[in-house]
Every structure is written in C-alpha cells, then in structure tokens.
Amino acid sequence: MATATPPVEMRPNIPSATIRLPAVKDYEQVDREIIGTLKPTLGWFAALMTAIVCLLIGVSAWFYQVYAGLGVAGYHPPVMWGVYIITFVFWVGIGHAGTLISAILYLFRAGFRTSIYRCAEAMTVFAVMTAGLFPILHLGRPWKFFWLIPYPNWRLLWPQFKSPLVWDVFAILTYLTVSSTFLYIGLIPDIATLRDKETNPVRKAIYGAMSLGWRNSDREWRHFTRAYLFLAAFSTPLVLSVHSVVSFDFAMALTPGWHATIFPPYFVAGAIFSGIGMVFTIIIPIRKFFNLKHYVTLNDLDAAAKMCLFTSLVVGLAYLTEFQIAWMSGNQFEKDYFWNRLFGQWAWAAWIMLICNMVLPLSLFSQKLRRNPTWLFILSIFINIGMWFERFVIVVPSLSHEFEPWQWGSYAPTWVDYAILLGSFGWFFMWFLLFIKQLPVMAISELKEVLPPRVKTAGGGGH
C-alpha cells in the first residue's frame, strides 16, 4: 500500500540563509565542535585572572572613593560629570549591537547572524551589566541610589518622573531584563543538548536545572519559536529606545553642545557602531582560538563589516551636522562651544574621535580589508577608543565651556577615575570569559537549522 506523503523539501530551515557552512557536515559535528570549545585552557584561565585583578583594582578604588568622597576623582567644576558618565554611555552603546544582531537580524532572517549572535548577545548583557554600575558609582551618595526607583515608602515621596535620569533607570533596567531573558531563552535548547551529552553527574544536574527540563518536544518547540519571535520583536524597539533615552540625559539639558534634537538618532547609530566594533574585538579571537573559522566564515565578517561601515557613515554625518547646525544657529553659545571643540582646549580629543570613527572605517570600502580579520580586529580597537572619546567630547568640553565665562574650567581625571574605568573592563571580561567556557558560544540548535537535514532519499517517501 503505497502512501502518498507530501514530498519534503530538503532545504535549510532559514529560507534567506543562502550562505552555507560547507565545512560542517551534520548535527553531530556541530555538537562535537561547539561543545568541544568548553574545555578550559590555560590561556583562558590566565585571561580570566587578569580580568579579575583589574576588577579588584576598580573595586578598591571605588571603596576608597565612597569613603573619602567624590573629590578624589578628577571632577573640576563646572565639569560635574566625567569619566564615569562617559564610560556609562560607552558601555550602554556597546550593548546595542548585540541586540541588533540577535533580534533585528533575526526578524530579517539575515543568515550571517547565526554564527555570531550568541556571543553578541552575551556581550550585550554583560555590557549593560557594566553600564548599569556607573550611574550608581558616580553618585555623591551612592548608598541612596534606590531613591530613583519608585516604591512606596514612609517619606511619601516618589521619584521625579520628568528627570531623564529616572528615564534612564527604567530604560536600563528594562533593557537588562529583556536582553538577559532573550539570551537565556535562546540558550535553553542548547543547555538541554549539553545536559544530554554531559557525563559528569554534577554538571549534568546543573545543566538539567538550567535547561528547566527541556525535552525538544513538538509542543515546546511550537511555543518556543513563537515566544522567541515576540521577544525579538520586543527587543527591536529597545535597540532604538534605550540609547535615545540615554541621549536625553544630554539633549534635555540646555548646555551648549548637548541641547540638540539630533542626539537620539546620532546616539543610536553611534551605539550600534561601537557595538559592532566590540563584536569584532570579541568574535575574531574566538573564531581563531576556538578553531571555529568554518562557522564564522569570511562571508559573515564581510557582512558585519558592511554594517560597521554603514553606521560609521551615519555617525560621521551626525558629527558634521552638529557643526553645521551650530554654524547656522546664530546662537552664540553654540558657536563658541563648537569652535572650542575643534580648535580650543579639547581639540585633541575631538580629532581622535573624528579620525577613529569617521576616517579609519572608510577603509572598509575595500572588500579585501573587509575580509581581512586582522585588519578588522585592529580597526575594532580604534573604534572602541574613538567611541569612548566621542562621549568624552560630548561630556567634558560642553561642561567646561558653558554659558558663564567666569566659571569656565578644565578637567583632568585622577588615578581613581582610571582605576574604575579599568575595573569596568575587568568586570565585563570576567563575565564574558566565564560565559564562553560554561555555555556554547554559538547557538547549537540554530546552527543545526542552517544545515540541510539528513534525509533517506531525495524526494522522500516510503518504499
């Protein structure tokens, strides 16, 4: 009795993923190779220790600052914000690329996303975790930070909801929650795989708990795909909103150089730009040291580099637009300020920013360089530096050169600022390094989706 089952088309699950992973044969290979990366190495351990040491330096510097007072940092009124806020914006920015890649590209079904998104997403979560610290440790009285959170209390007082800082609290907390949830949900099936391949009973138990007893059943997959889609849909507007809100910290003030409507788009573009920079910084060593070159192919890097180039162009446009607005505004304060930015006291910072973020990325117009991991890595370092200085240029010169000439000032960070900055990198990389050896750096189940499934006979059907 011949059965007429509909023929099954044997294509990868993701339609638009025309790219293939030629060097990857079957599901088992994916499991083997990805899970293989989890074995700790000496180099990894050394890196982790370095990160932790940096973190400790930062932490002790912060304790000292809390004890002695904020004066030990380099604040120099009228520059009331400094390295901490700069670094805060820097890390929030880093976060964005992760969400962009994992969420937006997911909705767009961009194939090259598959191999890099897990790293990017983890990077997001840890970057936001890092950023979240700074608003607290830059406070004069950090032990009172919880007053910014609306909760019923016996003072009968609530936060001042018109303040951009309260907006920040909501934006950052939401972003942290959603992105970490998103990361975890995506991880569940992979953890299940780890669980099933694990032999050590203890680790098996831990993985078991973390996988929440996931079984890959049809029902689970059915809801999973839905939920994942909606989470992606939720994260997408966050990518745009969070950094817009952060930009309001500046745009809502009337300080010359801050008070500009261009800030939200400008910040978002900058954020994604810096994020992709950081993705390169992270993924390129990983594909090298974990031997995953055949997963993160040059095509993937090429595609990401194109995004990097694009965002760089947007950011560059924003820079120029700022000057043009100031020039045409007829507003004396603005004019003075932007002149000062380019040729005044802070010219050096401005030029670092322009060269790193505007000029160097232009090299990506050449396909050769786009497909050259070494160059991408070097460039990404420049981008990170450049983006840090972008925030420096926004924060410090504006404040040091405000309306009141009598109160014009200068700014010079102290060792405390630098120690805490260093600590933030320690904190970030500590988490990230822990992550890459405990959990798969690539989405196993999604990689499987890219592969053509195993079939008995082309055209299918029984016999």
Binding site: P159, T174, I185, K197, G213, S217, W221, R226, S235
Partner: protein, 166 residues
C-alpha cells in the same frame, strides 16, 4: 500511560511516520527533534501557539501601568519643577513604552513556560538523550494491545530503534 518510543535518523522518515501514525488513529504521541522543523509542525498539524495572547495582554497592561504610576506619583505630591506641568504625558510616554516592553516580554516568557510546561522537575518517559542531538523521536502513548502494531509502523518507516516505555 505506557507507550513506545522510536528514534529516527532522517527527517523525512520521521515526517512520514507521523503521517502514518495519525492515519492509523494513533493520536496520543509526542515528537522530539533537536531543532524546530516546519515539516514536523505541518505533519502534526498542531493548533497555533497561544503565546501571542499573553504577549498582547502583558503589553497592554504594562503600557497602562507605566503611564499610571508616573502620572499618579506626580500628582500624589504636586511639586512644580522648572515651571512644567505637574503631570506631563509626553515624557511619561517613555515609561509607558518601557514598562510595556518589560511586562510584555516577561509575560511572553511566562506564557512560554506555562504553555510548554517548563520548568519541570523530572524528565518524563519517552525521552531519549539523542533527541537533543542528531535524532528525531516519536513517543506513542498506546494501550498494550496496539503496541505491537505501532512498533511495526515505526519500524516500517525506518526507526533506528523502537523501545517500549513503562
């Protein structure tokens, strides 16, 4: 309820097996696969997921709460700042939006857990570790008298192994 589980190596044979099972009135079965495949979903013809309802409701509640808390708190102790109105809806849109996203996505996750019955404390019958790696699997819940028939059916479709589960 007892049943038997069959492990498959290929996708198409799994699909065919599912089709055959349903034609032979074996309706109590669970399909395991290391990755989501549309082919399987089509073969099973399961109803669409209800996650979206939770998402919608969560989102709406969130947005309302966001606006409400901001406006209520501002009016609770009306202090004028910068000569602005006490409760200003424009900036409060930010809270509406953020809380919408927050509650919306959390309720989505809740829905995922609730509907697909995770987290669960025990591994259930009919699961095999291969199903999270390379193999597809079908667990058929059936009375002992039809077990043989089911086993036959699975084997016919090329199950690499068929095991009886107590």
């Amino acid at each position: 309820m007892p049943g038997l589980v069959g492990a498959f190596h290929e996708l198409d044979s799994t699909v065919n097996a599912i089709g055959d099972l349903r034609r032979n009135k074996f309706n109590e079965f669970t399909v395991y696969s290391p990755l989501p495949r549309h082919e399987l979903e089509h073969a099973i013809e399961a109803p669409p997921s209800r996650v979206r309802i939770f998402t919608l409701v969560g989102g709406i509640c969130g947005a309302t709460f966001g606006y409400w808390i901001a406006i209520w708190a501002s009016r609770y102790w009306p202090l004028v700042v910068g000569g602005k109105a006490v409760a200003t809806w424009v900036p409060y849109t930010i809270f509406g939006f953020e809380v919408m996203v927050l509650v919306g996505s959390l309720s989505t996750v809740f829905a995922l857990f609730a509907l697909s019955r995770v987290p669960r404390l025990t591994m259930t019958v009919g699961y095999d570790e291969r199903f999270s790696q390379g193999h597809f699997g079908i667990f058929v819940e059936t009375a002992a008298e039809r077990a043989k028939e089911a086993a036959e059916l699975l084997k016919k479709h090329g199950a690499v192994e068929v095991r009886h589960e107590a």
